[in-house]
């Protein structure tokens, strides 16, 4: 083993290549054979996760693009349609999701400081909040089904051409009212894709929770928790945009 002369080696584990040839292996248990150091592996993994999120930005980006176009084209229809979805439920869901993001951040911290108990509590809280979000979302969706606001054959514009009694909304001309369908298409597409991400996220969370039982992530191997945190926060960010764009177009 050569004596290190570079400053950077003081802060980082030296290259283990010499150990290889002498048959000594003192890598952490989780280090894959093709990485030189655990540090390299960690950075690769988190960079990989970021690149994946990059693709997610563009994936949602296509939907946002469509949204921006039609919102400008059919503003009145978008306003009317947006006002039929429940702001309070949207707000509650936003709070739920931001809280889950917070608990997830705490999970990352617990893993970093190797606190298994708190890690599990945080992960569990995140799961619960995730389910809460999906539960509320399901309620919102079923409202839409009841109101015939789901795009497709059963779609009905009567609520917009002749608003129910007590509604503050002005009746829309038919040609405008018809465009509400595009809003709801985008609403379902965007929140639907978002919900799919939530479901996948919750599934992974449950796996992480289960594996964390053995202390897998509280002995220095933070990377899965950390990467999953990135994913979860990203899903949160998408919602941060969806909420004002879908629920709050013009509420006054």
């Amino acid at each position: 083993m050569s004596v290190s002369t570079t400053i950077s080696e003081l802060t980082h584990p030296p290259s283990p290549e010499v150990e290889h040839s002498t048959g000594v292996h003192d890598h952490p248990f989780y280090q894959k054979h093709h990485f030189e150091t655990a540090e390299q592996q960690r950075e690769a993994a988190s960079f990989g996760m970021w690149l994946f999120l990059l693709t997610e930005i563009m994936f949602f980006g296509g939907l946002f693009m469509a949204y921006l176009l039609y919102r400008n084209w059919y503003y009145d229809a978008f306003v009317a349609a947006s006002n039929t979805i429940s702001m309070p439920l949207g707000l509650i869901n936003t709070i739920v999701l931001i809280s889950s993001s917070f608990t997830m951040a705490m999970a990352v911290w617990s893993a970093e400081v190797r606190n298994k108990k708190f890690l599990q509590i945080s992960l569990l809280a995140t799961v619960v909040l995730g389910f809460a979000f999906l539960g509320i979302k399901t309620g919102e969706y079923s409202d839409k089904f009841r109101e015939h606001h789901v795009p497709g054959a059963a779609f009905d514009i009567r609520d917009f051409t002749t608003p129910p009694a007590g509604s503050k909304e002005k009746p829309l001309p038919i040609d405008v009212a018809e465009k509400t369908q595009i809003f709801f298409s985008l609403y379902f597409a965007m929140t639907g894709v978002h919900a799919v991400h939530m479901i996948i996220g919750i599934a992974i969370l449950i796996v992480l929770l289960w594996k964390s039982n053995s202390g897998a992530y509280t002995s220095g191997y933070v990377q899965p928790i950390e990467n999953f945190g990135l994913y979860w926060h990203f899903v949160d960010i998408v919602w941060i945009f969806l909420f004002p764009l879908l629920y709050l177009i013009n509420r006054h």
Binding site: F35, E36, A44, G48, L51, Y70
Partner: protein, 553 residues
């Protein structure tokens, strides 16, 4: 210091006892492998299959077009033929061709790493690719799909009752395969370089695959969402692309081409990388203007995202937009020109030999120059009005994709075949095949420029009689071309068993991959290499060879 060194002697050498091919045995050792080299081989076999499938469709297209009347098959069948041809060739062959096979095999070795950063994700990519391929085959078996590879809405969403959703699923899945390959490459290049391997010591092959990977990661998701919306439109009628419901069919075009224009550079950039390696090796000279070539790849990756609407010039985008997109198209053509000239000047003062890969590379340069410059025709607004949607376009993109990329792919396969298998192929037959493909290619696709300017529309199953002569030439050429492509299949297969042992560095090339045994060990390098030489450092190679010879003596 180690002492046991050899100059591999081709006549006496035997295959290394231990290598990635024989390290483990059995089917499962292949299907569950994490080794980038084995995954590359899996890809090689699968894309070859899909290439010949696509080639079969091409053959049927050309046979139908032998006569002006639509007599060989029904119009519907013909439409399915070119749709399947386009989809198979683009998504299942050309996009993964160089990156997933040669790139997978070589990138880790070239930068001195033991594997790609995420071996499991790499294997996942291959499975996704195969699942995507299976969906394409399924839609074929179920009765095919006739949207054209461009899925134009509202045709694809409302007016066809073929298996659009199955195919859309296929493309979605294959798209994620490509995203994961790209992601793996980017992380690997950033994080796995061996000590001393700085950015500007990397071979240009790595640079160009890196640039292509960026485009894969950023572009493909937009295709995925566009295709998802098409599927949703068909399933529930969401109306975002439906003019009857207030949707804009052009929005689909924007989203589709936002991916599919960058996709053409995803297809060509890795080929550029192959050409850099081949030209350098067979002129024994470093690539002229290394940095210019490297940066032009990155420039293409960047500017490639700004020009997509040149596929929509007459489709109703605004006059302002067509101007902007046309101008940017002209700009993006320049980096390709830079590369061509740098390759030409690489030969200058070199020591040039004409092995098979070099012949393909020559073919590439000539054909790509024609293909690229005819792209400039199409980028020129007024010209595009007459040329668009005719055989001129068909000729343009076959020149760049078949004459360009496919030639580059074959150059690469021949170049690294000895490394991948440890065997040489029969050089005279392979040279013959290269020449046959070149002649067949010109005969197939050059007449299409002419017939396109005469006005023959693409995707036509029957055509006016005055176009026949040129079409007959084209079909004749396709037959020659088919032979040209079958030959490598035969002799490369033959060489697996009977080819001469290649030795480590049959071409005396400088890349790290040539300094290790062929076929390589599973872990590529027994110890991590320390890189101090530049890419294409022939002086370093000469010093090394001399020193090794000394050791032997």
């Amino acid at each position: 210091m180690s002492t046991i060194v050899s100059l591999p002697d081709q006549s006496t050498a035997t295959l290394p006892k231990r290598n990635y091919l024989n390290n483990e045995h059995g089917l499962m050792s292949w299907l569950l492998t994490g080794d980038h080299k084995r995954i590359a081989m899996l890809y090689l076999v699968s894309i070859t299959f899909f290439f010949f499938l696509g080639g079969f469709f091409a053959g049927m297209i050309r046979l139908e077009l032998l006569t002006p009347a639509g007599d060989l098959m029904a119009a519907d069948t013909y439409n399915k033929m070119f749709t399947m041809h386009g989809i198979v060739m683009i998504f299942l062959f050309l996009v993964p061709s160089v990156p997933a096979t040669l790139g997978n095999f070589l990138i880790p070795i070239m930068i001195g790493a033991k594997d790609l950063a995420f071996p499991k994700i790499n294997l996942l990519s291959w499975y996704l690719y195969m699942i995507g391929g299976t969906f394409v085959l399924a839609s074929l078996v179920l009765g095919g799909v006739d949207t054209g590879w461009t899925f134009t809405t509202p045709l694809s969403t409302h007016y066809l009752n073929t298996h659009v959703i199955t195919t859309a699923t296929a493309i979605f899945i294959a798209g994620f395969s490509s995203i994961f390959t790209g992601l793996n490459f980017i992380v690997t290049v950033h994080r796995m370089r061996a000590p001393g391997m700085t950015w500007f010591k990397m071979p240009l092959f790595v640079w160009s695959n890196y640039a292509a990977a960026i485009m894969m990661v950023l572009g493909t998701p937009v295709l995925a969402i566009a295709i998802t919306l098409v599927a949703l439109e068909r399933l529930v009628g969401i109306g975002v692309f439906d003019p009857a419901k207030g949707g804009d069919p052009l929005l689909f075009q924007h989203l589709f081409w936002f991916y599919s224009h960058p996709a053409v550079y995803i297809m060509i950039l890795p080929g550029f990388g192959v050409i850099s390696e081949v030209i350098s090796t067979f002129s024994r000279k470093r690539v002229f203007g290394y940095t210019a070539v490297a940066f032009s790849s990155v420039a293409i990756a960047l500017f490639g995202f700004f020009v997509w609407a040149h596929h929509m010039f007459i489709m109703g985008v605004s006059n302002y937009s067509v101007l902007v997109f046309s101008l940017l198209t002209m700009l993006v053509a320049v980096p390709s020109a830079i590369k061509i000239f740098n390759w030409s000047f690489t030969l200058q003062k070199g020591s040039v030999t004409f092995e098979t890969p070099m012949l393909y590379a020559f073919g590439f340069i000539g054909l790509f120059t024609i293909g690229g410059l005819t792209g400039v025709f199409l980028g020129s607004l007024g010209m595009d009005i007459h040329l668009t949607e005719t055989y001129f376009i068909v000729a343009h993109f076959h020149f760049v994709m078949v004459g360009g990329m496919l030639m580059a792919f074959l150059a690469g396969v021949h170049f690294w075949w000895p490394k991948m298998t440890g065997r040489m192929y029969p050089e005279s037959v392979s040279k013959l095949a290269a020449i046959i493909t070149f002649i067949g290619f010109i005969l197939t696709f050059f007449p299409q420029f002419v017939v396109g300017y005469l006005g023959m529309p693409r995707r036509y199953h029957a055509y006016p009689a005055e176009f026949q002569v040129l079409n007959v030439l084209s079909t004749a050429g396709a037959t020659v071309l088919g032979v040209g492509y079958l030959l490598p299949l035969l002799y490369l297969g033959w060489s697996l068993k009977y080819g001469a042992i290649a030795g480590n560095n049959p071409w005396q090339a400088t890349g790290l991959e040539w300094q290790i045994q062929s076929p390589p060990l599973t872990e590529n390098f027994l110890v991590t290499p320390i890189v101090e030489q530049e890419a294409y450092d022939y002086e370093w190679l000469a010093r090394k060879t001399a020193r090794e010879a000394q050791h032997v003596a």
